[in-house]
Symmetry: C2
Subunit: 234 residues, 2 copies
Amino acid sequence: MVKPKKKRVLRSKADQRADSIEQILDAAEYLFSRNGLHGVSLRDVAQQVGIHTTLVHYYFKDKQALFERVFARRADVSVEGRMEAMRKYEEEAGDKPTVEGALRAFLDTDLDLYVQRGEYWMNYAAFCARVSNTPEGAVLMDRHFDPVVLKLLEIIKRALPDHSDADIFWGYHFVTGALMNTYARTGRIDQLSGGLCRSDDFAAVKQRMAPFMAAGFLSLKSQPQPKAQPKRKK
Amino acid sequence: MVKPKKKRVLRSKADQRADSIEQILDAAEYLFSRNGLHGVSLRDVAQQVGIHTTLVHYYFKDKQALFERVFARRADVSVEGRMEAMRKYEEEAGDKPTVEGALRAFLDTDLDLYVQRGEYWMNYAAFCARVSNTPEGAVLMDRHFDPVVLKLLEIIKRALPDHSDADIFWGYHFVTGALMNTYARTGRIDQLSGGLCRSDDFAAVKQRMAPFMAAGFLSLKSQPQPKAQPKRKK
DNA sequence: ATTATCTATAGATCTATAGATAATGC
DNA sequence: ATTATCTATAGATCTATAGATAATGC
């Protein structure tokens, strides 16, 4: 944590601490993703790591704090990656961004992240998905992800200047629902499709999701909007 | 519940039973929708109803059984309504069904159901949403909702004969994610939109969802499919 | 000396069951 | 007589804390 001021000092103690914390977070993430906040005891977490229950209390104030730390730990990485991708896309696209381009920066970047970083990150995705459909979870989502979402919507608005704000927000509502359903990897599509599609096939989602949702956004335009263009003349 | 066969017999005992069971299910549904299976104790449920904890055990084998009864109770009504709506749509549409038409029968019918039947049914929708992103929940979803989903996909396939099965399944995957996000009513879109959109505004969703998703389905066609038309010549 | 880890334990809560009581039903 | 409801309670589990022990760190 603290920068190693002296020489090769603080390997063990500080590292031991960091290690234990990471292991606890990994285990909690895994268990929370499968059983939810209340479906996991601190004893379960400790047991999964192979340490004593009280050590979890030593490092974390209480269960709620552990839960929020699990949420926060990887959130910033996800946000940063997508922010960067969208910034880059904005530069490339200049003054003619497309909905699909914005969505690709937003969605594909994140999908890639979990695939590339492997199992633990996939657990985090499932954790977020599970949490996202709960009232408390939505608050955490707001806290951590609102900036990156608003950035996405800003680009989409530029791509669709005639769409109403409400249409854009509802469009995002659909997108995030579909994304969370993907992250959840419940096996439902496997069952439904008789094995043709697999829940953990993020590549299949990546291939289809951005164009699918972009087409959806575009389709909203045709809706009759209360007081559309006539008002403002610039 | 059961039709009074004799005269005014079996009002009280049978009715008392039915009443208690319904009240317990209503309370459990409400609490499960907000806190999940493990976030609710049978004591909580009993307290919410105003009865003694042990009465819950009298009527239900255990917590898991109560949970599944909550899920099953309204599932058939939802399924039947949508089946009927889709059958009706098929008749109207003849041999030229559209994706949007099929989706309207599937989505709008269900959205209407919860709005029209009021608070308790809205709780059920939130319950389903919460459950849907969990591994155990997905099994229940399969058990109860697969037939109505397969019916929907059957119509969509007829509307999109050149789409691959995988495209159809993934399209549905997006649809159901968006729908569950709607049912969850977490308040996230309220926060995100600064109050412009409201989580419980199912009318706003109904207006946009079917056309949005239909456009998405249509867009998948353009994807280059591995071995598409060339092979089979009919 | 400091800090990571373990032992022991209090207090709360939860599930589930056995058995008593009170209300309806021929 | 049957069945809805309550009383009492066992046994398990869970959170959280106080205090002991063992390992690292100047």
